[in-house]
Symmetry: C3
Subunit: 140 residues, 3 copies
């Protein structure tokens, strides 16, 4: 492990939680702008795209936390933290694009997938190395 106290991972996690809170706030503002009262989640296309953009971020958020933390704890904390920051940017690009049109969500989404692939691959390498070391006494 890189550090006893993973300040960077904790800091990026907290930032990402605040970012998710900001995106939830954006949905609330879109509700007001388009007069879509809770509990309704249907309305003008722009509201529905905003709502769905946020839902997609919600669906993937725990996956992001798991891949960033496993990458950070078992491979490299700095790389994982940078990956986390790129993920937040990708999600903001995705969200802003999706609000404009369904097609404009794609660039941000593809960047999201690149971050997931990178973090997951590094995490798998780190965990396999750890398992081989711990349970099979093979040192790489």
């Amino acid at each position: 492990m890189g550090s006893d106290s993973p300040f960077l991972l904790a800091g990026v996690s907290l930032l990402s939680a605040l970012h998710m809170g900001y995106l939830a706030r954006r949905v609330g503002r879109s509700r007001m702008a388009h007069k879509v009262l809770p509990p309704s989640v249907t309305g003008p296309p722009e509201f529905e795209r905003t709502f769905r953009a946020h839902q997609n971020c919600v669906e993937f958020y725990p996956l992001f936390l798991v891949t960033m933390w496993t990458c950070g704890m078992f491979c490299s904390e700095v790389v994982a933290a940078v990956g986390g920051l790129v993920y937040m940017i990708a999600r903001q690009v995705y969200f802003n694009g999706y609000v404009k049109s369904s097609k404009k969500r794609l660039p941000g989404f593809y960047l999201t997938l690149v971050v997931f692939a990178t973090l997951s691959l590094l995490a798998i390498i780190g965990i396999l190395r750890g398992v081989l070391h711990e349970y099979f006494h093979i040192h790489l």
Copy 2:
């Protein structure tokens, strides 16, 4: 860090997971009471409010876990655990209120925001202090 083994954070996390399971059960019971068969999520207003109350809890649950754990690991475990218990109460008040009417969801929701603000602020202070200490050798 407060403790080597964060029993309080783990205990409150587990309680909060069971609480979320209970709220999911409430949606299931509302389905039966209003005869809304899966996969449908539309029906009488009370069912739709119950469904959306649960969805909102789901959306914020990972954010809650991140803020409570970062506050607990880098600032104060006891304060974070107490904050976690208050969050659960706030969510129950929110849920019960939302089931009755959209307006009655607000007191519980505002209490939720107060808990988020408090836990986040303490977590930020703790993490910044840690980063200054670890990476810049500044001791506060």
Copy 3:
């Protein structure tokens, strides 16, 4: 705690995150097959069941992570990791069943509940033992 570096819990968490990514992909493929364009989430019954199957997995995923990790850190890492693998199988059975019909979601869902009950119970035992030891100096 079982191990200083919880490789098994981290490995199963990462696998479960990849599994969740696979289920999200299944919803995307169902969108294409049934020509349901984002942001719409309504369409033919099979698409709506596929969408809701994934949503249910999303709702429970953070609860799964909390119960597996608290069980693994405070009771038994091996049992928690095995429980995590069974949970993934249960979710796949649930998802495949739900895609076919609403009724066929039930066997997988009941298995999911069995895993939750087992992991939660072991976690509660482990945490209570820890709290008694740490705060009340009672050794069981």
